[in-house]
């Protein structure tokens, strides 16, 4: 059994490309070319160079001593929060903008929920001098004003998604419609390991730099490439895909995916897809998703805008159903408490998405000898207002 993608574009029974014929040429062009382009020495060189000089990679693997003392185990933080633009998202947008250039595209579109992927896309478009349009739900635009301003400052046009529930899934629908209407000159930079094949695989490969670095960084510090645990939060699942990637087939390494329980799994306000979802089709991929009995996609909830997606990438659906990864869901309150704890023990304010992963430390028992890698996917600057409101700071 393999936990990675097969040659038909599926992870186990999940994945594929369930797309209208209008999208077929765009997706097919990408499918036929992405591996070839990624293997080109000139592509690799440019990608690696930008990750190093522009993004600031490798991101440190930091031994969190006070956190380790508290939980009586060895905890390392993979510092994706120190990347340019403040999260792991930029690893993927750098890769995809280079891909788009090699495919001869001149116009970039993207969807965004909280605005993190939108900012990461706007950033690389400014860097490459490409036209950029980001679709964002009308409600999210109101909730995430600083990121909207960042995108505008970077020269991107932010278009409100006015349809449906006017949040991330609708922004994704609008971006897909734009791509249908502009099939020739436009590349769609999807922000997570979701969407039709080859997107989940391509995004996972661009994010796989995270676990590639963990391997050699851990070797330096502990004399082994293998931790006992890798823990990451999952919305669509791109930071987890990157942190898990080089450990997928190595079952000695325990993988823990952390979903947002929102106000509680049974509260009706949750984004814990593995617990609440069923197999179905969302945004061109067969995966687990939250839906009504009738197959209508439902609106999730989490305090963290980056985790409230009603589906999960097909890789994660497979990791869940095969039992390869353990899935844990964390409530808003547990995440906020964990975020405060990390801030005060280590002097690092995490993104609320990442705080969900840290909440696992209080819930799960680790051995003193265990090496636990926490993927610190993003920094908390963008969430300051949420923290202020929650803790009455």
């Amino acid at each position: 059994m393999t936990y990675n993608i097969n040659d038909k574009g599926y992870y186990g029974e999940f994945g594929g490309a369930y797309i209208p014929e209008m999208l077929y040429p765009n997706v097919e062009e990408l499918r036929q070319n992405y591996l070839k382009i990624m293997a080109e020495p000139s592509f690799k060189k440019e990608f690696d160079q930008l990750l190093k000089d522009y993004v600031g990679r490798p991101s440190p693997l930091y031994f969190a001593k006070r956190l380790s003392d508290k939980y009586n185990t060895k905890i390392y933080l993979k510092r994706e929060d120190l990347n340019h633009t403040g999260a792991h998202k930029v690893n993927n947008t750098i890769g995809q903008i280079l891909m788009a250039k090699r495919l001869g595209k001149t116009r970039i579109i993207a969807e965004t929920g909280a605005g993190q992927h939108g900012v990461a896309t706007a950033t690389v478009c400014a860097l490459m001098g490409m036209q950029c349009i980001v679709y964002m739900g009308e409600i999210d635009i109101a909730r995430q004003a600083p990121n909207v301003a960042r995108m505008k400052m970077l020269g991107t046009e932010v278009r409100p998604a006015l349809s449906g529930s006017r949040t991330l899934k609708d922004a994704t629908n609008e971006a897909i419609r734009d791509w249908i209407n502009n099939p020739v000159d436009t590349h769609y930079i999807i922000g997570s390991v979701v969407g039709p094949h080859p997107y989940p695989d391509m995004v996972a490969r661009f994010q796989s730099v995270v676990s590639e670095e963990i391997q050699w960084q851990l070797k330096d510090k502990e004399g082994t490439t293998k931790p006992n645990y890798v823990i990451a939060c999952v919305g669509g699942g791109s930071n987890a895909a990157g942190a898990f990637y080089h450990y997928l087939e190595d079952t000695e390494v325990n993988l823990i995916a952390v979903e947002a329980a929102g106000k509680g799994i049974d509260s009706g306000e949750s984004a814990a897809t593995s617990a609440l979802g069923r197999e179905g089709i969302i945004h061109g991929s067969k995966t687990l998703l939250m839906q009504t009995n009738d197959g209508q996609i439902t609106e999730p909830y989490s305090i963290s805008a980056g985790l409230d997606y009603p589906g999960v990438g097909p890789m994660h659906a497979h990791l869940y159903t095969s039992g390869r990864a353990e899935f844990i869901s964390i409530t808003d309150d547990e995440a906020m408490t964990a975020g405060l704890e990390l801030s005060q023990l280590e002097g690092i304010i995490p993104a609320i998405e990442s705080s969900h992963a840290f909440a696992v430390l209080a819930q799960k028992k680790f051995q003193p000898k265990d090496i636990v890698i926490m993927n610190l996917s993003g920094r908390g600057d963008k969430d300051l207002q949420n923290y202020i409101d929650y803790f009455k700071l």
């Binding site: 369930y18 014929e21 209008m22 349809s163 061109g284 839906q291 197959g295 209508q296």
Partner: protein, 254 residues
């Protein structure tokens, strides 16, 4: 013989109308279908509403969203349609996205369609290769015609493949667009229409997307067996209600 195939043999250009079931009101479905047949429409696409209709523009999405708000479900639609063949004889096609059908169960869905007298399905996000590998046998067991889309970007090779596994008609998307986008056909579209007409495919073609009035209907049917109107019909329903259906159709067919 399937009603669609029989209809395609008639020596005339066909007008097919799409509407979202459950819109404007939940229980308008049967009445809209009966009115369309009485008005001289040749074929009807009954839209099964979906929360996230990727291939549709704002008009159809808005009617879908309203239909869902009105309470439309797959079960309710099938209930509304259960006696439809007592009053309606033209071909009826259900057009819907794959997820609601998958949740109902593909085989159960097809079986119910056959019992009701539905003749075919259009499922834009069920790719032709997945259909061919996993679902073709089920559709055929229940006598349903599955209709595939082609666009100006579809390669000749793929058009031939789609033609080879189709047994009704090919739904020709007029331009690279979502529904309801364009108005009027230019040089690019007409040369695409001609190119496809000259391929002499075994399945007749029906053109959809961008047909809104008598002129675009006539233009499209110069090159194809028929044309489909969706967004323009829904807009008319929104503005003028069910009573305006026959007037709308007669303006197209005048």
């Amino acid at each position: 013989m399937n009603r669609i195939n029989k209809k395609l043999q008639e020596d005339k250009k066909l007008l097919s109308i799409y509407f979202s079931a459950g819109y404007p009101s939940l229980n308008d479905t049967v009445s809209i279908i009966q009115n369309l047949e009485k008005s001289g429409v040749d074929m009807i696409e009954i839209g099964l509403p979906f929360s996230d209709p990727l291939a549709d523009g704002p008009t159809i999405q808005a009617s879908s969203t309203q239909a869902l708000k009105n309470g439309m479900t797959t079960e309710i639609l099938f209930n509304q349609l259960k006696d439809i063949r007592k009053t309606v004889s033209i071909p009826l096609i259900i057009m819907g996205y794959f997820n609601p059908i998958l949740q109902y169960g593909v085989e159960a869905f097809c079986k119910t369609c056959q019992e009701i007298g539905i003749d075919g399905l259009i499922i834009p996000d069920l790719p032709v290769d997945v259909y061919n590998e996993h679902y073709k046998a089920i559709f055929e067991t229940y006598g349903l015609i599955n209709v595939f889309l082609i666009t100006p970007q579809t390669s000749v090779e793929r058009i031939n493949f789609i033609d080879s596994i189709s047994n009704g008609f090919i739904y020709m998307v007029s331009s690279a667009s979502v529904t309801g986008s364009s108005s009027g056909f230019g040089e690019i579209q007409t040369s695409y229409f001609k190119r496809i007409a000259n391929m002499n495919l075994k399945n007749p073609q029906i053109i959809g997307f961008g047909i809104s009035n008598h002129d675009t209907f006539s233009q499209a049917t110069q090159y194809a067996k028929g044309a489909i109107i969706g967004s323009a019909f829904i807009k008319n329903l929104t503005q003028n209600g069910l009573a305006s259906i026959s007037k709308f159709v007669s303006q197209i067919l005048r």
